[in-house]
Subunit: 199 residues, 2 copies
Amino acid sequence: MTPVAVDLPRAYRLLNHGPVTLVSSAYAGRRNVMAAAWTMPLDFDPPKVAVVVDRRTLTRELIEASGVFALNLPCRAQAEAVLAVGSCSGRDPEWECGGDKFARFGLATLPAARIEAPLLAGCVGWLECRVIPEARNEERYDLFLGEVVAAWADPAVFADGRWHFDAAPAEKRTLHYVAGGAFYATGEGFEVAAPGAGA
Amino acid sequence: MTPVAVDLPRAYRLLNHGPVTLVSSAYAGRRNVMAAAWTMPLDFDPPKVAVVVDRRTLTRELIEASGVFALNLPCRAQAEAVLAVGSCSGRDPEWECGGDKFARFGLATLPAARIEAPLLAGCVGWLECRVIPEARNEERYDLFLGEVVAAWADPAVFADGRWHFDAAPAEKRTLHYVAGGAFYATGEGFEVAAPGAGA
């Protein structure tokens, strides 16, 4: 599967339904990936996002050093990997899962187009982001804001600015994280009519 | 159904899976409710949340005046109401859906315990929030931070700090908003094992 570019004004649609994300980052030869459920769109055009990145993480260090990060949208086939990279730190090489998590868990990467951070292969959406520096948010709330400078999606599930999960295999559905190893898959799609729109 | 209190350190679990919310607010005899998909947990204990509230909305005016808001978590049975209150402004009484949206759309309310804002009846979760004033975020990004001071859930779908959608009627599932009138319901729940946790 070759990721297809998503028009930037539609990039918020990748995140709008609240899926769990994997935050990837790199700096000076180190790279990392962690799980983040606490992320949301912040603006349409130019698209912006918000994400919480704990100050104790290696990801935080790499983002602060590089000024960039990517939000990868994993699918159901990757739930074990989401839990794995979310359950250990790249800063603890003595842990069995520490060090380079990509290598440890056999996770393939794709190059990003606009930033120096790896994208995780097998995901169904990707948002390449540059940090919008807001020191007070970062220091006080672990809250990072980013401008989306490139966005990509798996055309099997996202086309014409919309997700199309119901027509794709179940393992390509995005994930919604609860706690522990518990997730919900994105469920059935449906449409309702606006008031006054007939019927 | 009588809402059951959710322990504050578990309140983030209500939002963790990324459902769409309805933001309710009130001040000096006016009240309003709008849809907000751009919201996320910001901290565990005390629990905090982040939500984007456009500067043109009546909700923004009421939140700024009162310093409080509630995040209501609607369920599938309420999808039409979510679209309705998200498609019009309480500031435009000449619109057919303007003025008091609760009255216009026949939406019943419950009293909040700790804040002066109505809670929307029929929802499956509620977070009562006090604004954490951060003027730069509000002015520059329409971004509001709040401390959760009380949280409630429908015990049919949330108990022991977890959602239990798979054992409840489908109309009680939470919603994930796409765009237009398109939603996804929260889907199938499943668990995966952490690396090293056996098997």
